[in-house]
Amino acid sequence: MTPHILTRSLDRAATTFILIVAGLGVLIPLSNLLMPQGSMFQVPTYLVALWGKYVCYAILALSIDLIWGYCGILSLGHGAFFALGGYAMGMYLMRQIGSRGVYGNPVLPDFMVFLNWDKLPWYWYGFDKFWFAALMVLLVPGLLAFCFGWLAFRSRVTGVYLSIITQAMTYALLLGFFRNDFGFGGNNGLTDFKDILGFNVQADGTRCALFLLSCLALVIAFLICRAVVTSKLGKVLIAIRDAESRTRFLGYRVETYKLFVFTLSACMAGVAGALYVPQVGIINPSEFAPANSIEAVIWVAVGGRGTLVGAALGAVVVNYAKTFFTSGPLAPYWLFMLGALFILVTLLLPKGIVGTFNAWWEPWKARRSAGIAADEESAAREDGIGAPNPAE
């Protein structure tokens, strides 16, 4: 089974993508740790963390492309799954602080002491153990997506209506997490992390390890997506995207397919959020903001919907541009630029960067191989072998 999936999933573009991610995942940490401080070959630690953030965004973009690009589910609330994964990781990191907090309480995080709580809420139990937190990173977004999707897909909520209720979902969570009595640090969220699995989160080595892990997670997420979209299930997803009711009349249970891929995608977004939090050092309710989810959809559109590689590329390109422009004098205009970028891509590159490249590259490749075939055919005819008629 496994080799079959691998050979099927790994075409040239996919292999190149994995090699590049793996290469960056190894080279950037090596350069940071081994090269002398200040050398032109040394990647500074802040950049390692920054690129680590981009890689997490790339995973989120992949998860959106899987459902939007291949199954036509436009979720405008995927940031919620990302943030939930982030909160699960944040809770683990909070419990690791222990008595090193400002108030020195060995069990209660600072914000709970501040609110005069005397014991840990039940839903914080277990988060002192990494395996439990890691499980929750997958389980909480997955379960929410499953319940949400079960209700929405069964009732055949599609298109713009589904997009609107996903926005409502993330907005509702935003409001909830803002409240102090919700028990997740309210407005301030979770921060002031000290260590992860016993390693200092600020240390260069930890940051490099987290970067490497993020790249690894990106590769794994990419492989899972490829395995899904190159399977027969992938063909069914595209069929649902293009003609949902036709697919139903062929005897496919469309809602089950949507539920499967939506839940898988939410779990991936959760992992992205969990890797993001220790690298940026904070998680707060603003991650649930509907605008964040919309921005993530823009990354996918810019990179190329339904291409996977494009989604990851789009996340990195847009976020690199964001970092670049928001750190200069153009900072106040970033949102205008983002809007302009989206309009320009929609007008000029409706298939995104990778989609446009493919549209240009594939006919060229086909023409070239057709040219070779035609040459062989004429050679065969000269040899007196009749070539079959290429009928319509």
């Binding site: 089974m1 079959h4 899904v228 399977s231 027969k232 299930l233 063909k235 069914v236 595209i238 069929a239 293009d242 003609a243 009711s245 036709r246 697919t247 139903r248 009349f249 062929l250 005897g251 496919y252 249970r253 469309v254 089950t256 397919y257 499967f260 290429p390 009928a391 319509e392």
Partner: protein, 253 residues
Amino acid sequence: MNVMDTRATSAMLYLDGVHVSFDGFHAINNLSLALEPGEMRAIIGPNGAGKTTMMDIITGKTKPDEGTVLFDGSVDLTRLDETRIAELGIGRKFQKPTVFESQTVQDNLLLALNVDHSVRGTLFWRGSKGESERIDKVLETIRLTDARNRLAGSLSHGQKQWLEIGMLLAQDPKVLLVDEPVAGMTDVETHLTAELLKQINKNHTIMVVEHDMTFVRELGVKVTCLHEGSVLAEGSIDQVSSNERVVEVYLGR
């Protein structure tokens, strides 16, 4: 009455006293119809006669307000959804050719094959020789062998119609509902389609909705004329087309 009862059990598809209204508009009005196993039936009728709505009812897209819809003499179709009805063995070709345009002809047929349609089944699907042989056979029947690797979206209108009939064949249902198969086809294509349907009829029950009288005549099967949601006339094409009420309905009163 007794005769009707025995027919109800032997019929492949049995509709009795079916009513559907949309916002007060009676699309289907006391419609009764029975299709015997192995039969091919042509359904004609002016626009708005309820032909497509009838197919919607049989395939579970629309639920009737009242009436009986039985499949194979025993299965109550009004309680089931589209997927379940398709699984039972009722396939449908739509009025507007609906194929998966961004996928190849071959993949369209692969998707239609009546094999395991579960999420797990498709995720871990590996092609088998039997499946590819079946696809080859269907491609040959619908004359699209040379176009197997082309995107379905790039086919001509007539080829798309055939591909959709091919998808029905791959699905191998007990009953095929075919809505306007020759709309927009050339005379030659229409003739070939009639041949194709006759060939398929050898081992499938078929219900064809069509406006094209030449085509219906060529099929040479029993014809049912619908009007305002109920059966106006039934019989051979000559009987039906010489029926005064049918002429009146078609030509206006």
